[in-house]
Point group: C2
């Protein structure tokens, strides 16, 4: 039904979020991979699509390009409201968005490839770089764990998947990758619940066509 | 009409965003300052309010606490829709959110006090730390400038203030603070237009009660 094009990368956690949102909404999308380690996201052809030089970017049917994974997920939620990615009422909506942003603003951009490469360029060795990523993730997910302490349920906020879960599950991939201590039983239980759903299971990095 | 309490800090650009949103909505709010340089945001009493140990946090009338400035702004937009902070249609909404997130995810959290202190702890000297912040802001605002290249108007997206402007103006304070080259005439024109509005002018850091 759709000629949308998702520009992403199998290992990009921000791309992973959009893959899950598309799957939950049952929206089809052609996928185009840009190899971040090789710097393909900074090629002129890609910068013409997304001047930020980041993945993901979603090209719509008419050629318009959307950037920023959280903005893309909210767009998909607005054009295809079922199932909703946010609760209906303003207060729980704000809590879900805050959790998503605790990951999308305060964890992921501080430990992504670009930042780690900048640390290397400043002379930090691999132990220090890995330690930076690990500490960022551990402290960030500690806060996330506390943000949902008052919200029981199968997922982060109750018994329906929200944007919070869509951010959490990809971030846990990076937590393992950088050797974080997985000290959050609730977050891991939510992850297991999510990965039992095809929308998440089909979006995991190792099942993408560009996986190495 | 309101007993909301905003926990912030005059120099926090994320708090500045919320101050503007409250002013635009004409919502009254008691303000509580937490001195970031003295680490007051990590005091147990504040961590009980916001487990992330970040400002801003908005305590609602009933005691509920909202965190993350972009989530707070969208909450305010939902409970007080006039004037709107986002366009009505999904596509322009996504563009405004993406611009806001280009600042809120990819610039601000990479150059905030917490990150700069971590760089100092790794042995970087002040020149390197300032350079880190300046480069983050310059590259980030370069991208922002390109994101609105196709959107003429008095503000980032047309002739009405949006969440994009609410993020841009505070970030330009930090651009100056860290000595960034202000190479974006359009962004500076938007800033001047915003600062001619009382909602922005009353929210600038130096006019807050806790300004030093």
């Amino acid at each position: 039904m759709s000629a949308m094009r998702l520009h992403g990368y199998f290992r990009s956690t921000a791309s992973y979020r959009v893959r899950v949102a598309l799957n939950l909404k049952r929206l089809s999308c052609d996928q185009f991979s840009h190899h971040l380690r090789k710097g393909e996201q900074r090629a002129p052809a890609y910068l013409a699509i997304n001047p930020q030089g980041l993945v993901p970017a979603l090209e719509l049917d008419g050629g318009a390009v959307l950037t920023q994974s959280l903005a893309i997920c909210e767009y998909l939620d607005e054009i295809a409201p079922d199932p909703p990615l946010l609760p209906a009422d303003p207060l729980p909506r704000a809590r879900v968005r805050a959790f998503a942003q605790a990951i999308g603003c305060d964890i992921h951009p501080v430990q992504n490839l670009k930042i780690l490469d900048r640390l290397r360029a400043l002379g930090l060795d691999e132990d220090a770089v890995t330690g930076w990523a690990r500490t960022t993730i551990e402290e960030g997910l500690d806060a996330c764990d506390r943000l949902i302490a008052g919200s029981p349920g199968r997922y982060c906020f109750g018994d329906a998947v929200t944007l919070a879960d869509i951010c959490l599950v990809p971030q846990l991939v990076n937590a393992r990758r950088f050797g974080a201590v997985l000290r959050w039983p609730r977050l891991l239980a939510i992850e297991a619940a999510c990965l039992s759903l095809p929308a998440f299971a089909d979006a995991v990095p190792e099942r993408q066509a560009d996986a190495e």
